[in-house]
């Protein structure tokens, strides 16, 4: 592990038995897990390079229990790491050896569905796909669809502001969540938003979404559900270069078309996927583009004709349009299985998540190829082409000494490159521990201090998920200091009247 975590609180470690006993009084029975063997499954999340056993695992099942656990930890000065399904790819749920791991798996009920208001109220441990499953009998679905949607939970989606392949048209988690119940580190319970839109006052729901479990613990979520489009058809287009594919994406958007999904894969990713899924992807091209168009049949037909014309103008080598729902799903099955498929052709892989202005794609891919040669590691590229979100998958073998470190250094270079061209470090996987120390490439100390003071407003003692997102831990007292020298401040000749 190359990331330094907060210093261990020896006093807390010494009081472990006492803390476990106190938690057992709040959450009875199997809800507290304290043996090493049983805690082992919680030692890491989807970023498996980082592992740490927690102090103790607690699995509450009611808001009241969450509130009591947090209040107890607040008063006792014990750190807390919240966890959903543990699918984070950035180490957001990485435990702390001196911290309580708060698992939200027991919050797994769909509480209510209201088709007239087009909302569902669910507990945070409900999986992303289960929301759609709960409403699809009436023709509805929940729009954000991260590739991990079978396993990942709505609570985790809020923490990371998850996207998916359809977010270009239908938005991210933050655009599809209307309200939540949030427990603060003090145990206080607040409600943000609800079945109505745009609650007045500060948009705290907007802040909590994507906050990586640093501000509070979500215990209930109100999401927007949508009626499924009448039809959806996917196009599978092959290009002789990633540049041509990228150009095609730009021209589709310039034509005023926002497809339901628009995904790109390079040759290495395509080959890996095809061996795994047999989706019928062309193997003699440098890049494939999956473009999904949805809406009424007449609209799909109209737009498919337009996109086909644009693709031909961009030099498409192959072009197939799905003719059945099975075929459409097959096109997507390959894309959605891209990560595990790459996992089959390499002992290990490291998934990156930068976002760039789309026009910079050819340059970024060219630089990535150069880095690949420099580090001696292969890199497969999967790309949410419509919104510029890159997922380079760096192939390595953890059993070869030094390869993990090389993979991490390669990944960090890619992310610096994303920032250099005007993009960002992470599009949807979160900063977590993984990109924490890269934050200064994008933000100044002053930028980061403004964000950290916001955390102080929610968590004055800094006990909730510390060591994530921010590279330097400062106390709220240090962050709050201000140097104002009355009357002597620089005051140039600002027009004044």
């Amino acid at each position: 592990m190359s990331v330094t975590m907060p210093p261990r609180d020896e006093a807390v470690l010494a009081r472990r038995d006492q803390i476990v006993a106190a938690l057992r009084r709040i959450v009875p029975g199997e809800g507290v897990i304290a043996t090493e063997r049983e805690m082992r499954p919680y030692e890491s999340d989807g970023l498996t390079a980082y592992r740490q056993l927690p102090l103790v695992v607690v699995l509450p099942s009611t808001t009241e229990q969450v509130s009591q656990v947090l209040r107890y930890c607040h008063d006792a000065g014990v750190k807390v790491v919240p966890r959903g399904a543990g699918t984070s790819l950035s180490g957001g749920a990485l435990p702390l050896g001196d911290g309580v791991l708060l698992g939200m798996a027991k919050f797994n009920r769909v509480r209510s569905i209201d088709f007239a208001d087009r909302v569902a109220v669910v507990e945070p441990g409900v999986t992303n796909l289960a929301v759609t499953k709960a409403v699809e009998h009436a023709g509805f679905y929940y729009a954000p669809d991260p590739s991990s949607q079978i396993a990942c939970t709505i609570g985790g989606n809020i923490a990371e502001n998850s996207g998916g392949v359809h977010c270009l048209k239908y938005g991210l988690t933050t655009n599809n969540v209307l309200g939540c119940e949030l427990v603060l580190m003090t145990g206080e319970v607040v409600r943000l938003g609800g079945a109505h839109l745009d609650a007045g006052g500060y948009d705290l729901l907007g802040i909590v979404t994507g906050s990586e479990g640093l501000l509070g613990v979500v215990t209930e979520v109100t999401v927007r559900i949508l009626q499924k489009p009448e039809t959806a058809r996917a196009m599978l287009v092959g290009f002789g270069s990633t540049e041509a594919a990228g150009d095609c994406v730009g021209r589709i958007i310039a034509a005023g078309i926002i497809p339901g999904g628009m995904e790109m894969m390079d040759r290495l990713a395509t080959e890996a996927v095809e061996q795994f899924v047999h989706a019928g992807y062309p193997l003699d091209v440098e890049a494939i583009l999956i473009v999904e168009l949805d809406g009424p049949r007449v609209e799909c037909d109209h737009l498919i004709e337009q996109v086909s014309g644009i693709a031909r103008d961009c030099g498409a080598l192959t072009l197939r349009v799905s003719t059945s729902e099975e075929e459409r799903l097959l096109f997507w099955a390959g894309r959605k299985a891209a990560f595990p498929a790459v996992g089959r052709i390499s002992p290990d892989y490291y998934c990156m998540d930068g976002t760039i202005p789309r026009a910079k794609l050819p340059y970024v891919l060219q630089r990535t190829r150069a880095l690949s040669a420099q580090y001696g590691l292969r890199c497969a590229n999967v790309f949410h082409a419509g919104d510029g979100n890159l997922h380079p998958l760096i192939l390595y073998d953890a059993n070869q000494p030094g390869e993990l470190e090389r993979a991490e250094a390669f990944g960090a270079d890619i992310l610096r490159l994303c920032v250099e061209v005007g993009g960002v470090l992470t599009g949807e996987h979160g900063v977590g521990v993984e990109k924490r120390d890269l934050m200064p490439t994008m933000f100044s100390d002053i930028d980061l201090a403004h964000q950290q003071r916001l955390k102080c407003a929610f968590d004055q003692k800094g006990l909730l998920n510390p060591g994530k997102v921010f590279p330097v831990l400062s106390t709220c007292a240090e962050l709050g200091r201000m140097h104002v020298s009355g009357g002597r401040l620089a005051f140039p000749d600002i027009p004044r009247f």
């Binding site: 943000l192 737009l303 993009g423």
Partner: protein, 411 residues
């Protein structure tokens, strides 16, 4: 006389806030001043006039992104993106006419700071959903940035959402980056005539629950429909309107489908693109309640109530049973504009009582300053949330330099 500082660039904005900090003064942030009458009247020592911070600095239509200085006129931005076949999908309303100001004024910063949106809110989101990044000077007198210029970004907290709707109480934005989207090629509206509010909400729920991608759902009772000033509307009858936007063949298909779906709800009609556009502009700007309509209109309070759509009719009925209210329903019944006769509390007891029973929140958008000084403009918050709000305010503006009291006392 109130002191006014008019910085010419972002650096001078920082200097101005530092001056205020050092001198112990409070600042009201103003762009064009078109929304000054919106919010709790704050007692500030000086005005921070940002109007010189104007101009689009980046617009890349194929990247769907635009950056501009905070006080760039929103009309300039809308004209620029329209010329490129794009639009601000959140359809920001023009508050001017409602507040007794000329139409077409206002800045990007003002739109963001008040989190404006329009009828398309229910499909495309509000300003908060379209702000990608910003640079601002906080109440600590420090310039900071957050977000970026790309849509998919979870690098750090989503501060652009926090600044949206903060009414200038956290930071003075100097530069803002927003998302642009293709403008719908054409539009049409399907109308259901003569419905009572409860029936209208049911019809709108049916339309919104259909796969026909309705991008506007509003109900105008007969008198309000007449005051909408849209010539194509049939006179003297309540109008429930559903908007369809997109490419021509799709709009034509969905218009037929929606007419068939809504036929059981009542007598239907439809509007072609031109008339539809006029109708939705009138709904967007709440033209029936515009201050220029009638002599004492400016004194007549207007409330904006947001609730779950299915409770809209009951909430409106609760208000209407207690006082002489004119009501316009947008967002499929989830947004209720209420115009009331002048009264010392602007009808707060009635409106807030109805909201307490039905759920949601109420904002007093228009009322004389003296009324807004004594009646909560924004929905009062439960204690824990109010305390959290105050701590958030203090984290950006510990000395209360910026716009303090615009939302609630001290915030």
């Amino acid at each position: 006389m109130t002191d006014t500082l008019a910085p010419r660039d972002a650096g001078e904005v920082e200097a101005a806030v530092r001056w205020a900090l050092g001198a112990g003064k409070t600042l009201e942030i103003v762009g064009h001043g078109s929304k000054r009458a919106f919010g709790r009247p704050a007692q500030t020592d000086a005005t921070l006039d940002l109007s010189a911070l104007s101009g689009v600095t980046l617009y890349e239509p194929t990247e769907l992104v635009l950056s501009a200085r905070a006080a760039t006129p929103i009309a300039e931005i809308e004209a620029l993106v329209e010329a490129a076949g794009q639009a601000l999908a959140f359809e920001p309303m023009d508050l001017g006419p409602l507040l007794g100001q000329p139409p077409g004024a206002g800045t990007l910063g003002g739109v963001v700071a008040t989190n404006l949106s329009g009828p398309r809110r229910l499909k495309a989101g509000a300003a908060r959903d379209h702000v990608l990044g910003f640079t601002a000077v906080s109440g600590r007198g420090e310039t900071f940035k957050a977000g970026g210029r790309v849509v998919k970004n979870v690098t750090g907290y989503d501060l652009p959402k926090l600044l949206a709707g903060s009414f200038g109480t956290l930071a003075a934005m100097t530069d803002i980056t927003i998302k642009t989207l293709p403008r719908p090629q054409t539009e049409a509206s399907v109308l259901v005539l003569g419905l009572a509010p409860a029936q209208a909400v049911a019809a709108m729920a049916a339309a919104m629950g259909s796969p026909f991608e309705v991008s506007g759902a509003a109900h105008l009772p007969a008198a309000v429909a007449t005051a909408a000033g849209v010539a194509a509307l049939p006179g003297g009858v309540a109008v429930t309107a559903l908007r369809l936007e997109g490419v021509a063949p799709s709009v034509a298909h969905r218009r037929e489908s929606l007419l068939a779906l809504l036929a059981p709800h009542g007598s239907c009609a439809d509007l072609d693109a031109g008339a539809s556009r006029a109708l939705w502009r009138s709904i967007r700007d709440v033209t029936p309640f515009a201050a220029s309509e009638g002599g004492d209109a400016a004194a007549s309070p207007v409330w904006r109530v947001s609730t779950a759509p299915s409770r809209g009719a009951a909430l409106a009925a609760a208000i209407a049973s207690a006082c002489d209210a004119r009501i316009l329903f947008d967002w499929a019944g989830g947004l209720i504009w209420v115009a009331l006769p002048p009264s010392p509390d602007a009808g707060a007891a009635v409106v807030r009582g109805a909201v307490a029973r039905c759920g949601g929140h109420a904002t007093l958008v228009r009322a004389p300053a003296a009324v807004r000084a004594v009646v909560d403009v924004f929905e009062p918050q439960p204690a824990a949330l109010a305390a959290l709000t105050r701590r958030v305010k203090e984290s950006f503006d510990p000395q209360g330099v910026l716009g303090s009291g615009r939302l609630w006392a001290g915030v």
